[in-house]
């Protein structure tokens, strides 16, 4: 087994799995509902990610690209930026 090392990933991929989170998960800064799924990158790696919603019309294999979303900071603090994939 090779030693893991950081690699740069493609910001584009295809949709491999998706659902909608309907109840706000523990510790989440954002509120439900939001999209959630897996995007497959060109080198075969699959990434767990938030998805830009609504996801009702999403289809298996559709192209997706990386984006960012600001979530409200805890206790009126600064917003926290995290990633999400967009169609």
């Amino acid at each position: 087994m090779p030693d893991p090392e950081p690699v740069e990933l493609s910001p584009r991929g295809t949709l491999w799995g998706w659902t909608t989170v309907t109840a706000t998960p523990p510790g989440s800064l954002g509120e439900a509902p939001f999209g959630f799924g897996v995007v497959e990158l060109p080198d075969g790696l699959r990434v767990i990610t938030r998805l830009a919603g609504p996801v009702d019309d999403y289809e298996f294999g559709q192209p997706m690209h990386l984006g960012f979303v600001d979530l409200p900071g805890a206790d009126n603090g600064d917003p926290v930026t995290t990633w999400e994939f967009h169609p």
């Binding site: 087994m1 799995g17 659902t19 909608t20 075969g44 790696l45 699959r46 990434v47 767990i48």
Partner: protein, 380 residues
């Protein structure tokens, strides 16, 4: 080390029903289960027949096992708490059986206790930044696995609903279960969507309870033939390890398969030898996935297997005759030992209206956070 060189017998079982018990503490539930198991083993009150104790628990805090045995005045021996997520009970069994087989002890007490809040389980497994980003959405991971099973194994939402109907029907006859009312396919599909394709009734409820077994060196009664625990291989994206990324895992054996193969080999028992199974039905799709991962049916055929009624109470291989976690609920540290309690009853022929006729060889399976998977094999 491969084959066992000495038998391990289960001489006593005890359970505190799974449910929600208000002010009753995990310690108090543990006391009830341990007392019942020792009585079942023929041990008189205040007598300590065991030389060590392992306590499976994930959420009970420091020295949880000591608190239970302290309340029973049974301390003085080694007492070790074991945490392996949903497989904590299976992990405790593995350690206890290995210690007996190694000649370290003649008898070991194994118990599990848990008192969980309702709703999505909060877990320190998720780093704070993952929680903040909303990625600690446990049912969403279950949903993605269910979606994949529907895409690759011919599973439909109706199949998922019918697993719930099967297990809830079995649970009607189990006084230790939390839900004892039958549901219909319409009820299941009419319950609210938690994470498409999973509806509320397709998900088990985290709850409270305790279970205990007494292990003894010996070749009679119900034998513990194998107790295997495995973790995940690096790389799989949708296993219970819930990593942030991974690869196509078709070539990677999941932890449940690793544990099953180890247990089958240790016991010299194969999937076709089994008479009854209790498996991890965290959600309805998880049970169908377990059929494939435990190699009860070939990969990609879980849908057809579900359709055939193979695993119903009168089918060739009944699965979750206790009602499963879908009926009992899931007190993490106690759930795996609860399965073992059910299977010992089945092998003793004392399961009442749930009895699987002529059951001689049984398998218990748990899988969860870590990832950890345990497979336990029992026989008469």
């Amino acid at each position: 080390m491969t084959a066992a060189n000495t038998g391990v017998e289960i001489t006593g079982i005890g359970i505190h029903p799974f449910g929600r018990w208000g002010e009753k503490t995990a310690t108090e539930m543990g006391v009830d289960a341990v007392r019942a198991a020792l009585a079942d083993a023929g041990v008189g009150p205040g007598t300590r027949s065991f030389q060590a104790a392992f306590c499976g628990t994930a959420y009970s805090g420091v020295a949880a096992g000591h608190k239970v045995l302290g309340a029973l005045a049974l301390t003085g021996v080694p007492i070790v708490d074991v945490e392996a997520g949903c497989a904590s009970g299976g992990a405790a069994l593995m350690l206890a059986a290995a210690a007996i087989r190694a000649g370290q002890y003649d008898s070991v007490l194994v118990f599990g206790i848990e008192k969980m809040p309702k709703g999505i389980i909060r877990s320190s497994f998720f780093e704070p930044w993952r929680e903040e980003a909303g990625l600690a959405a446990t049912p969403a991971y279950f949903a993605l696995r269910a979606q994949r099973l529907m895409r690759e194994s011919g599973v439909t939402k109706e199949h998922l609903a019918r697993i719930v109907v099967k297990n809830r029907r079995n649970g009607v006859h189990n006084p230790d279960a939390m839900f004892r009312k039958e549901v219909t396919v319409d009820d299941v599909l009419g319950s609210r969507v938690v994470c498409e394709p999973l509806h509320l009734f397709m998900l088990c409820s985290p709850n409270e309870g305790a279970a205990a077994v007494v292990l003894q060196r010996g070749d009679g009664g119900v034998q513990l033939r194998a107790a295997a625990l495995r973790s995940h291989l690096p790389g799989s994206v949708l296993g219970e390890a819930t990593p942030m990324s991974g690869v196509d895992d078709h070539d990677l054996a999941p932890p449940s398969t690793l544990a099953a193969r180890a247990a089958y080999e240790e016991a010299g028992i194969g999937p076709t030898d089994l008479d009854v199974v209790e498996c991890q039905d965290t959600d309805a799709a998880r049970e169908l996935l377990a059929y494939e991962e435990l190699e009860l049916c070939p990969r990609g055929t879980a849908g057809a297997w579900a359709e055939s009624g193979h695993t119903g109470p009168t089918g060739p291989l009944p699965v979750n005759p206790s009602g499963g976690l879908l009926s009992k609920g899931e007190p993490l540290g106690a759930s795996g030992l609860g399965q073992v309690v059910e299977l010992v009853r089945q092998l003793r022929g004392s399961a009442g209206p749930r009895q699987v006729e002529g059951a001689r060889i049984a398998l218990a399976h748990t899988v969860g956070r870590g990832a950890n998977a345990s497979v336990t094999l029992l026989s008469t």
